[in-house]
C-alpha cells in the first residue's frame, strides 16, 4: 500500500478544494506544495477536477513558487474560466427572465446556484452544465422555452415518455462557448436516494443574486444534502470524488455554517454528517464547523490517495486500458474511504466484514442492472 507521501499533488489539490483558507490551512498548502516534485500534471489535474481557479487562488495566496510554464498555464485557465463565466451568466439571466415572464417556477441547482450564492466570484466555480429544477408538469414547456431562446432542445414525444430525472441537455453556442442546460424534473431518480424531491416539495428557498435579476435555489439544508448525495452517487470505482463538489460542500458549511439548521440535518439528512466526516481528510473542516455539526472524526481511512489516480469522468473503457486486473481489484476491494462514503459510515464507526458484504451485494445488484440494460438494448 502506498503512503500519503506518494501523492503530494493530490493532497495539495484536495487542500485547495475550498473557497477560503485560514492561516493554518494556507500553511498546510505551502507544506504540501513543498513535497511536490513534478508540477507538470497540475494544470490538467486541477482542470479535470474543476478547481483550477481555486488552486491558483490558494497557491498564490500561500506564496507557492510555481515553474513559469505551470504558472502561465494556470493563469490562462483562470482567465478562460472568468470569460466563460461572464458568457454563461448572461445566458442564465436570459433563461431566468424568460421563465419568469412565462410564470414558470424554476430553481437553480448545484454550480448554477453556488457560483452566485456562495463563491465570491462566479469565475472561481467552473461548470459543465446549468442544472435547473422545474415542476415535472412544466418540464416540456421549460424545454420549449429554451428552444425559443435559440437552444437546440430535443423535445420528448410527450410527458409520459420522460422517465429520467432530467430531459436531454439543451445546447446553445454563445460567443464561442457551448452552454448546456439540463431541465430536471426531480432531484434524483426514484429509489436512487433516500428522498427524491420535486420542486413543490421544497419549502425553504434561498435567493440567488444574478446581476439585475433574482433567482432561487434550494434551502441550505437541502442543498447540503443534495450536494452530498450527488457526490456519493457520482463517486465509484471508476471515478474519484470530483474536487469541485468537495469544494462546494466544504465551502457551504464553512461560509454559511451559522445559517444551517444542524438539528434538522442530524434528524433528516444524517448522511451529510457522515460525508463531512470523510471529506475532512481531503480538506479539513474548521473547529467551528466540527462543533456546530457535532461530527466525530475517526482515523484516516486507508487507500484514500491512490483512489485519486482514477480521474473523474474517465470511462470504464479507459480504465480497462490500464489493465483489467487493477480495475477488477478496485471494484472488488474498493478503498475503505469509498465504502464508508457509500454506506454512510462516517469516519469514526468501525468498518466490519458485513459492511464489505453489503458492498458486494450492491456491486452484484449494479452488475445485474447493467446486464439487464444491455439485454434490453439488444432486444430493441
Amino acid at each position: 500500500m502506498r503512503s500519503t507521501d506518494d501523492h503530494p499533488l493530490y493532497r495539495l489539490l484536495a487542500l485547495c478544494a475550498r473557497i477560503e483558507c485560514d492561516a493554518a490551512q494556507s500553511d498546510a498548502i505551502a507544506r504540501a506544495a513543498f513535497g511536490v516534485t513534478t508540477w507538470e500534471p497540475l494544470p490538467s489535474l486541477a482542470e479535470a477536477h474543476g478547481i483550477a481557479p481555486l488552486v491558483y487562488h490558494h497557491l498564490t495566496a500561500a506564496d507557492v513558487p510555481l515553474p513559469r510554464a505551470i504558472k502561465r498555464a494556470m493563469q490562462a485557465l483562470v482567465m478562460r474560466h472568468r470569460l466563460a463565466s461572464q458568457i454563461r451568466t448572461r445566458v442564465l439571466r436570459e433563461i431566468v427572465a424568460r421563465y419568469q415572464a412565462a410564470e414558470l417556477r424554476v430553481l437553480l441547482l448545484k454550480g448554477a446556484a453556488l457560483a452566485y450564492a456562495l463563491y465570491p466570484e462566479p469565475g472561481l466555480r467552473p461548470m459543465r452544465d446549468l442544472d435547473l429544477l422545474v415542476r415535472p408538469a412544466d418540464a416540456l414547456r421549460a424545454q420549449q422555452l429554451l428552444g425559443d431562446l435559440g437552444f437546440v432542445a430535443r423535445m420528448p414525444a410527450d410527458e409520459k415518455s420522460v422517465t429520467h430525472r432530467h430531459l436531454s441537455p439543451a445546447t446553445l453556442v454563445r460567443d464561442g462557448l457551448t452552454i448546456s442546460v439540463e431541465i430536471h424534473r426531480t432531484l434524483f431518480e426514484s429509489g436512487a436516494a433516500p428522498f427524491s424531491f420535486e420542486l413543490d416539495d421544497l419549502r425553504e428557498l434561498v435567493s440567488v443574486p444574478l446581476a439585475d435579476c433574482s433567482a432561487w435555489t434550494l434551502g441550505y439544508a437541502e442543498t447540503l444534502w443534495y450536494l452530498c448525495q450527488h457526490l456519493i452517487e457520482s463517486t465509484n470505482v471508476f471515478s474519484a470524488p470530483g474536487l469541485i463538489w468537495v469544494a462546494d460542500i466544504i465551502s457551504l458549511v464553512e461560509r454559511l455554517g451559522a445559517q444551517i439548521d444542524w438539528a434538522r440535518i442530524r434528524s433528516t439528512f444524517p448522511q451529510v454528517l457522515d460525508t463531512l466526516a470523510l471529506l475532512h481528510f481531503l480538506t479539513p473542516l474548521s473547529d467551528a464547523v466540527l462543533a456546530r455539526a457535532q461530527i466525530t472524526i475517526g482515523a484516516e481511512p486507508r487507500d484514500l490517495w491512490p483512489m485519486f489516480e482514477k480521474l473523474p469522468r474517465t470511462t470504464p473503457e479507459e480504465q480497462m486500458q490500464q489493465g483489467y486486473r487493477r480495475t477488477l481489484r478496485a471494484a472488488i476491494f474498493p478503498s475503505a474511504w469509498w465504502v464508508r462514503l457509500h454506506l454512510g459510515l462516517g469516519s469514526a464507526r468501525p468498518l466490519r466484514w458485513y459492511h464489505r458484504a453489503q458492498y458486494w451485494k450492491y456491486l452484484a445488484v449494479r452488475f445485474a442492472h447493467v446486464q439487464q440494460r444491455q439485454w434490453r438494448a439488444r432486444e430493441k
Binding site: 490562462a76 482567465m79 478562460r80 470569460l83 466563460a84 460567443d175 464561442g176 462557448l177 457551448t178
Partner: protein, 90 residues
C-alpha cells in the same frame, strides 16, 4: 497567404496578464501568448487588409525594423491561423 485578407475569428479575446498579452477563446484550453507586435498584428486583422498591407503599415510606424517586419507578420499570421484565431477572406 498574404494575398488574402486575414480576419479575426469572433469569440477570441486579447487579454492583458501582467506584462503579457494572451489571445484566448472561452472554449479552448490552449492560449496564445503575444508580444506587442503580435497584438498589433491581431488588431489589424480586420478582413480589409492583406498581410502585405499590414506589413506596410507596421513598417511605416517602425522604419528601423522594416526588414524583419514582413517576416514577423507572415509567421505571426501563420500562428494565428494554425490556432484558429484568424480566417482568410478574399
Amino acid at each position: 497567404m498574404t494575398a488574402n485578407k486575414p480576419r479575426r475569428v469572433p469569440d477570441y479575446r486579447l487579454e492583458k496578464l501582467d506584462d503579457e498579452l494572451l489571445l484566448l477563446h472561452p472554449a479552448q484550453a490552449q492560449v496564445l501568448y503575444c508580444n506587442e507586435t503580435a497584438s498589433l498584428i491581431w488588431q489589424l486583422c480586420d478582413g480589409q487588409r492583406t498581410g502585405a498591407e499590414i506589413s506596410a503599415l507596421l513598417a511605416e510606424q517602425y522604419p528601423d525594423a522594416a526588414d524583419v517586419i514582413a517576416r514577423d507578420v507572415t509567421s505571426t499570421l501563420a500562428q494565428f491561423h494554425a490556432h484558429g484565431a484568424i480566417e482568410y477572406v478574399a
